[in-house]
Symmetry: C2
Subunit: 191 residues, 2 copies
Amino acid sequence: MRQRLMDATVELLVEKGFGGTTTTLVSERAGVSRGAQLHHFPTKNDLVVAAVSHLTAIRGSDLEAAVARLPRGEGRTEAVVQMLGDHFASDVFTAALELWVAARTDEHLHEAVAPLEQHLGRETHRLTVELLGIDEGRPGTRELVQATLDLVRGLGLANTLGDDARRRRRILTEWARTLDAALRNPQGDDA
Amino acid sequence: MRQRLMDATVELLVEKGFGGTTTTLVSERAGVSRGAQLHHFPTKNDLVVAAVSHLTAIRGSDLEAAVARLPRGEGRTEAVVQMLGDHFASDVFTAALELWVAARTDEHLHEAVAPLEQHLGRETHRLTVELLGIDEGRPGTRELVQATLDLVRGLGLANTLGDDARRRRRILTEWARTLDAALRNPQGDDA
C-alpha cells in the first residue's frame, strides 16, 4: 500500500504539479482509503517528501546497479555521464523539481526538503566519484564532479520544458570527452 | 507605470512563488489602480510573461554591457563564465523558474512561456559565443557552449534552494579552466 501511495504521489506531481496534487487525488489514484492514507501520512507535505525520497533512493540504486555492470576503460566516462543525464531527466527528477520550487516559498516544506536534497546531493556525488573511479584529492577534480552534477541538473530542468534527449546526449558526449581530458591533465598541467 | 508593474511582478514571483502571485497583490505593490493594470495586462499570465521577458532582456543588456568592458586575453573566459553564473543566480532567474515550472502543467501559460524561453535561449547562446570569441564551426565547440549554459542553469536551480555563491564560483573557476583547455584542443586533438 505504501508503494502504491508513493507511486501515485510522484505521478500526480508530474501530471498536475505541486499545487494540483491533493491528498484526495493521491488516495483515489492509489486505491487506498483516506483513513489508511492519513494514518501513514498525516499531511500532504509528509506524503510528497516521503514519495520523492523513496523513489529517488530506488532510482539511485537502479542507477548504481546499471553502471556497476558497465565495462571499465574506454567509453566508461561517457556511459556514466549519459546515465546521470537520463537519471536527471526522469519523472522522479520532475517530481523533485516541483518539490524544490514549492519549498522555496513554503517554510514547512523547506524544512523537510532541504535535508533530503542535501542527502541526495552527497549520495549522488559519492556515487559519481566511485563510478568514474577518480581521485578527488587531485586539485580541481572535486569541482569537475560537482560541475558534472550541476550540468545534468540544468539539462534536467531544460528537459521539463520540452527539451529533447538528442540535444542532451550530444552535449554530454562532448562533456564526457572534455572531462576525460581534464582528468588526465589535472589543474596546472594543461598550460 | 509599466516598469513598476514589471518590477512588482518579479518581486512577488520571487517572494511568494507563481501560486502566491495574484494580480491584486501586484497592483497594490506597484501602486497602480486595478483598472489601469487590467488595461495593460488583462490576465495574470499576460502580466507574468511580460514581466519576466522584460526584466530578462534588461538584465541581458546589462550583462552584455558589463562583459564588453572586460579586457581580452588571460582571464576572460573565467570572467564571462562567472558573470553568466551570477546572471543565472539572480532574482530574474528565480522568477523565470517559477514560470517554467508552472508552465509545465498549465497549457495556456506554456504557450506563452515556450517561445520566450526559446528566444532567450538563442540570445544567451549567441551572446556567450560572442563574448568568448570562439568559432562554433569547430567540432564540439557548440556543445561546450550549450554545456556551459546548462551548467549555469543547474547552478541557478541549486542556488534557489540555499546553495552558496562561494561553491558556485569555485566550480565555475574550474569549468572556465577546463573550457579554455578544451577550446585550445578541439575534438580529436586531445588524445
